[in-house]
Amino acid sequence: MIDLVTRQNLIPKNMAQATYLEAIRQGLWEEMEQDPTVFCIGEDIGVYGGAFKVTDGFIHHFGPQRVIDTPIAESAIVGAAFGASLTGMRPVAEFQFMDFIGCAFNQIVNMVAKSHYRWGAPAPLVLRGPAGGGVHGGPFHSQNPEMHFVHTPGIKVVAPATPSDAKGLIKSAIRDNNPVLFLEHKFLYRRIKEEVPDSDYAVPIGKARLHRPGRDLSIITYAAMVHAAQEAAELLSKEGIEVEILDLRTLSPLDREAITQTVKKTNKVILLHEDTKTGGLAGEIAAIINEEAFDDLDGPIVRITALDTPVPFSPPLEHFFLPKLEDVVREARRLHSY
């Protein structure tokens, strides 16, 4: 069964406003409260509370044994998290910036992701941290590393776009018996706010979310770009073009059913992501649509992505580099009249 419901339906009664960042903090805190096997490990996450303050105050409450500052050694962090997970713990390892995940690449891809397949050892750990651009972080503080891991069997990849999903998915990621890469979009950290359930709830991994129902064409996207799509949809709506927005939420495993369903409904599709184009997720989804709904397509699948370059630092350059609202609006109009 797929889970094509609007956001509103998902949210239980007991609610309060929270930013995307606070929502992640809540989810992590609640899981640590509930389950003593959950612990945090990473750089500057203890007394300092993390570069973005996701674990601010955690060390005071949970103690330094469960909020562990490490040397600057990402392969050691992931390796140690994996080792601890073999004893039945559920480590949550923070990358100060997701850009640094390359420093633990081998450990993740070859040690962690393959362990269940190779020798039957589950690795219930979460790798989390800030990803994404739009904050003028330059080439090394803005990267979107999802595809390296979407292309790695054995690790799940999650990239929420809203506070509720961020909270619900961090909880599911922690409870999952597999390694989960949890990508927090740093642009969203303090920019978006919504009602988030206080109580214990979780959002299932592997299920997309219908962010906005529409009639004329579908935008399939995730993370910060969901909000760009939303803005575009509002503009286009005034022109009578009703855009459906599918927020993937989980990038691996992909929700093929939800993808197929929206394509079958609108017959036209834009794939939108902040990651660079060549080898990006849009390609994978294009192939899936071809496989699942080729005959339903009434127009070419359109990709809107960042340029195939590193993430440039200077604001005009980064603006040019990133997918833009006007790109989405223009392409939607073009596709609509195809």
């Binding site: 003593p36 096997t37 040397p71 080792g83 004893t87 070859n110 020798w119 050892a121």
Partner: protein, 430 residues
């Protein structure tokens, strides 16, 4: 709520500790090297490997005291007679099993290559033998003996090489690339050298949170320890005083590369100084030294005092794997070390002590051979996996494993009731 203030001195191997930390490791030290690292060896072999480049050709030569007699075995301070004999049997089983693997290879019954620990059986077996029952270990390719000592059977290893359905990985992986987190507490290695080091530190960390101080034994080659991840793992273990017991197998070669091109330091144990942890040099062909050094490191780990770096000096007596004739190794080097064979010397030691007679040896070897024959037959007769199982097991699905803390639920810190407060602090990028 009355707040009891606890002051944790952060670990730092500062001036209070003596030169090379571990008092245990020191007690037995008759000799230390120029940096104060205990050197338990009864012989300090003297030779150097040279690169010789003629106008048309480049090769390696060795110079040094190559006809020195083999040193005696150092008396163990921890093993009793029975343990000596049991250990001896493991070493014999280790070697004979590898001979069986070589035969299987020659009969084309093996998939891929075969790796040997010839000459390194003491280093694999005696160290594993020194572990406590709950301790964890993670072998490298040359530590097949350790797997036997810790409860796997020759058939498991044979089936791994033969890629059989009944192998510990059901054919998903080969060689020593398997493990067991349920019973035998063996972490599977991966090919990439050094990645196990932080993992074993992490096992110790996880267990500590559950109130258990484990010794986590692993080995790394003089080549493999050059990887950055080795350094990260050892350093992390040192900082957090985790129970890593690391044996560097200084076997003078890393594939075709002599240690001289791997590191510029003579004793890799010296690296312990830079980590701020105890290091010790042992003769890796002396089963008693391997046992005792590991034993002390294990004890230290059990006391929660932190990791130990043991450098075992020895020689890789075959090529990198079965395809490699090791033509690049100067012949005299093999000859020198053949005289130092760990099994021959240990056997002579036991016989000199009258703990082992030629008759007992024969019986033991016959038993070992019988065991190997039975295991080989079992392995040969077991089926290959079915193709479609290749698609299974990438993820841990519902019901596939129950995740729970192995040593008991971690205790919650008794701390203020504290609720999550909103954070408003300045951050780096907005």
């Amino acid at each position: 709520m009355a707040a009891k203030t606890k002051i944790n001195k952060i670990s730092r191997n500062g001036s209070k500790r003596s030169a090379n930390g571990g008092s245990a490791a020191k007690a037995n030290a008759l000799r230390v090297n120029q940096y104060g690292i205990p050197d338990w060896r009864l012989e300090q072999p003297e030779f150097e490997v040279f690169e010789v480049a003629s106008g048309t050709e480049v090769h390696y030569e060795i110079k040094g005291k190559l006809n020195a007699p083999a040193p005696p075995i150092r008396e163990s301070r921890y093993m009793n007679r029975e343990q000596h004999l049991e250990l001896y049997r493991w070493m014999v089983l280790n070697r004979r099993m590898e001979q069986a693997l070589e035969n299987l290879y020659k009969q084309s019954k093996v998939v891929g290559g075969v790796y040997f620990g010839l000459g390194q059986e003491a280093c694999s077996c005696a160290s594993a033998f020194a572990l406590g029952p709950d301790d964890w270990f993670a072998p490298m390719i040359r530590n097949q003996g350790a797997q036997l000592v810790r409860g796997f059977h020759a058939r498991d290893i044979m089936m791994q090489y033969m890629a059989k359905s009944g192998s510990p990985t059901h054919g998903k992986d080969g060689t020593s690339h398997y493990g067991d987190i349920e019973k035998r507490h063996m972490v599977s290695p991966i090919s990439m050298l050094g990645d196990l080091l932080p993992v074993m530190a992490g096992v110790s960390l996880g267990a500590r949170m559950q109130g258990k101080e484990l010794a986590c034994l692993t080995w790394i080659g003089d080549g493999g320890q050059s990887t950055g991840v080795s350094y990260e793992g050892i350093n992390f273990a040192a900082v957090r005083k985790l129970g890593l017991v690391l044996i560097i197998e200084s076997n003078l070669w890393a594939y075709s590369t002599p240690t001289e091109y791997q590191v510029a330091v003579k004793d890799l144990a010296n690296r312990a100084i830079g980590y701020g942890m105890p290091g010790v040099i042992i003769d890796g062909t002396d089963a008693c030294q391997v046992y005792d050094a590991t034993y002390e490191a294990v004890e230290r780990a059990h006391r929660g005092e932190g990791p130990t770096l043991i450098e075992a000096k020895l020689m890789r007596m075959k090529g990198h794997a079965i395809h490699d004739a090791a033509a690049y190794v100067p012949k005299e080097m093999h000859e020198f070390w053949r005289k130092r064979d760990c099994i021959d010397r240990f056997e002579k030691y036991l016989m000199d002590k009258k703990w082992l007679t030629p008759g007992q040896k024969e019986t033991m070897v016959a038993e070992v051979e019988k065991e190997i024959d039975a295991d080989r037959a079992f392995a040969e007769n077991s089926p290959m996996p079915e193709g479609h199982t290749a698609a299974e097991g990438v993820y841990c699905e519902a019901g596939c494993h129950v995740i729970k803390p192995k040593y008991g639920m971690p205790k919650r810190a008794k701390r203020g009731e504290g609720k999550l407060k909103q954070t408003e602090a300045a951050i780096h990028f907005k």
